[in-house]
């Protein structure tokens, strides 16, 4: 899947909206070392159909919780190498507090709710990345304010 240009995406996201005063953005990139494993390539698998629905639900949830102008999520799939861009989340708002919070919320939920899986090619062979407890903890911070409709019961 094609790479993205963060600057161009942000320019498009806030184009024509002079109420926007704040843009918060996050980019996730491939590290050459993960959990003490050297990473030669990283392959991202997803679940076509559900992926789009899950990302849209996460963005809708953020829109419902905070006063934001717009939000964008781009997630690549396929084979990537160290330093490649994996994911981008951008949120525009009148004020920076909402932009930062909604951006971090979207990333935390994406990490635990969106159907993507990472497989690393390492010197010891291929390895499916294990989910991190710290990601569940990060996502659970947001639970107090109402849960995602798509969460497991």
């Amino acid at each position: 899947m094609e790479d993205f240009d963060a600057g161009r995406e942000i320019t498009a996201l806030r184009a024509g909206d002079a109420r926007v005063g704040a843009v918060a953005m996050f980019i996730g990139t491939v590290r050459d070392l993960n959990d003490a494993h050297a990473v030669a390539t990283l392959t991202l698998e997803h679940y076509p159909g559900m992926t789009e629905k899950a990302l849209a639900a996460i963005v809708d949830e953020a829109r419902g919780r905070w006063d934001i102008s717009d939000a964008l999520v781009i997630h690549r799939v396929g084979e990537l190498k160290p330093m490649d861009q994996i994911v981008m989340v951008a949120v525009t708002s009148a004020h920076r507090g909402e932009a930062f919070t909604a951006c971090e919320f979207i990333m935390d939920y994406l990490k635990t709710q969106a159907p993507f899986w990472k497989k690393e090619a390492t010197p010891d062979g291929p390895r499916w990345v294990e989910a991190r407890g710290t990601d569940d903890q990060a996502a659970s911070r947001w639970k107090g304010q109402g849960a995602l409709a798509s969460e497991p019961k």
């Binding site: 994911v87 159907p115 294990e130 497991p152």
Partner: protein, 87 residues
Amino acid sequence: MPRTITLVYLARLREAFGTGGEKIELPPEVGTVSALTHWLAARGGAWAAELAPGRALRIAVNHDLAGGETPVATGDEIALFPPVTGG
């Protein structure tokens, strides 16, 4: 009347089961996600190993994350996969 559903296997489960999915006829006693995974685990081998109690497993019914009590109905697309690791 046959109760056909589509199963989708992703990531580690796809590799363990050696397939990306299958169409199956649901037996009459399988009415929930939990009953379905028990029924699949009874196939033994990789099925028993990957669907054993205590293995982290996520299930989506028609592209929404589901719990054990979620009903399973004719025509559903039911996906089994490990906890997600994107981002």
